[in-house]
């Protein structure tokens, strides 16, 4: 990928991650912490690709980091919904 685009993507992911980190510090909502982690992973993924100059088509395993990052977002949403889905307790 073009170095300029690569750098812009890394910076973009890092900025988004930092925003979510700040949201987490302000609200202590786990969703934001997981989002921050996910976008950090995306930045790391792009950084590895940029430094190692790996052609993505020949090294499909580099997609694994991205897969984990996206899976984290799905997990965060599931976790958010699960936190509010407690079963009411019956009166004995």
């Amino acid at each position: 990928m073009n170095d300029l685009l690569s750098g812009a993507l890394i910076l973009g992911f890092l900025v988004i991650a930092l925003f979510f980190l700040r949201f987490w510090r302000s609200t202590r909502d786990r969703l934001f912490a997981i989002f921050a982690l996910s976008f950090s992973l995306m930045a790391v993924n792009r950084l590895i690709l940029a430094i190692a100059k790996l052609p993505e088509d020949d090294f499909p395993y580099v997609y694994l980091v991205r897969l984990v990052a996206n899976a984290l977002i799905i997990y965060a949403v599931i976790d958010k919904n699960r936190a509010h889905k407690a079963t009411p307790r019956p009166i004995p």
Partner: protein
């Protein structure tokens, strides 16, 4: 997002309001679990009459609020494990019964704060600086509160 609270510099990091800091744990409890004053009123009514079981229509009459809205509040409080629920032929009946001692203590502390410093509680529920963030976070909930 302008901070409406002066973030306290107290050792416990509590929120500083015009009349002093509110313990962080209590402020977090209110911000996390209370979305309206009606919900607080329902919670405190059942707490003050802990021995009694209430139906939604009775609570609605007592508080002079809409039956549908009160029904939703009671369901939400039961889901959050603040209330116990028993299903009868005439519908569910609710009774104060927090899941843990810690939760009961927080409800007691919130009730005390609401009696003594109502405006501080209203500020916590409606005027919190991170309410926009919470709305954003809650947007990921598939089922609304």
């Amino acid at each position: 997002m302008g901070d409406q609270h002066d973030r306290g510099s107290k050792p416990d990091g509590g929120l500083r309001t015009s009349s002093g800091p509110i313990p962080t744990e209590l402020a977090q409890f209110i911000q996390e679990h209370v979305s309206s004053l009606e919900q607080l009123e329902v919670m405190f009514l059942l707490r003050d009459t802990a021995a009694r079981e209430w139906r939604a229509d009775e609570v609605s009459r007592q508080l002079g609020s809409s039956l549908m809205s009160i029904g939703r509040r009671l369901e939400h409080l039961a889901e959050a494990r603040f209330l116990k629920v028993r299903h009868t032929e005439r519908g569910p009946v609710y009774q104060h019964g927090p899941e843990s001692e810690e939760m009961a203590a927080l409800i007691d502390a919130a009730a005390k704060l609401y009696k003594e410093r109502r405006l501080a509680v209203i500020d916590l529920v409606y005027g919190r600086p991170e309410s926009d963030l919470r709305a954003f976070s809650d947007a990921f909930m598939l089922k609304k509160k």
